[in-house]
Amino acid sequence: MADPMHQFEIHKIVDLPDFTLPGVGTIDMAFTNSTLAMTLAAGLIIAFMAAVTAKPQVVPGRLQVIGEGAFNYIDNLVVGIIGHEGRKFFPFVFSIFLFILAMNVLGLFLVFTATSQLAVTATLAALTILLVLIVGFARNGLGFFKLFVPSGVPWYMLILVTPIEVISFLLRPVTLALRLFGNMLGGHVAMKVFAGFVVSLGALAAGGGLGLLGIPGAALALGGVVALTALEFLVAFLQAFVFAVLACVYLNDVVNLGHHH
């Protein structure tokens, strides 16, 4: 059976000279298949949004409806979770949603999924948490630490609650990165494993004799691949949506610190 992990290997397409950053070390600047997938995703989004807004009409055409629908969907989400001030963060949430969605969906059509690399998802999660920290300190100053001290909790419970809140805050970027990475990796491994069953059972049937029993098994596995692919399309959208929702929730914590709306 083919190695299901083979699809996640990174190989260089164009080898560029190494770049030495003082204090950090040498960085490999090669143009890899991961870079290619991300560039394609970003280019696709830009091309799509440009095509959608090229000739805006009062009565939108088909393309314009898709673009406006996506825009409206995330706009409602951001305003619904963060409130009126959420409009400021709409560009960030919208671009991160579209970028992850494009990478996930491209991964189903091409051989390589950029979001199945921990380095990519960890960077997106670090970006989100950095924004949360910057917004939190810029808006609340040192009052940011009230995040770890929930209001209305008796002082003797705070001894227990505050460390839990600190740990849960520190785990946020970790789970944000691992959720996207784990979902895409797990889904693609499952798809490849089922696809491998089709080949090995087909080879068994080619042997003839009792091996012909492999044909219904191979057909079952093929059905499994089709069903899993359909599920992966759902997961691809859902994970991008979840990332956007969680980015909104984490931003809401620091934007509306201390007062709920």
Binding site: I81, T175, L178, R179, F181, L185, V242, V245, L246
Partner: protein, 74 residues
């Protein structure tokens, strides 16, 4: 026991953590469906919360999955 065999058994055992995540996601969706069938008009507004709860629960299962991978490939 062979160290390699112990590694495979350990990776398999680590993925058992997904049982809890599976039960948890099931409880969330069952709660949502129970609420949605009783008051269908309120169901649409809770979709974001539903996905949020499922995602947060699922993250723990993913942690078990990643732990299994770490044991398997280290």
């Amino acid at each position: 026991m062979d160290a390699e065999a112990a590694k495979f058994i350990g990776a398999g055992l680590a993925t058992l953590g997904m049982i809890g995540a599976g039960v948890g996601v099931g409880v969330i969706f069952s709660g949502f469906l129970q609420g949605a069938t009783r008051n269908p008009s309120a169901a649409g507004g809770q979709f974001t919360n539903l996905i949020l709860g499922a995602a947060l629960t699922e993250a723990l299962g993913i942690l078990a999955f990643v732990l299994g991978l770490l044991i398997l490939f280290s």
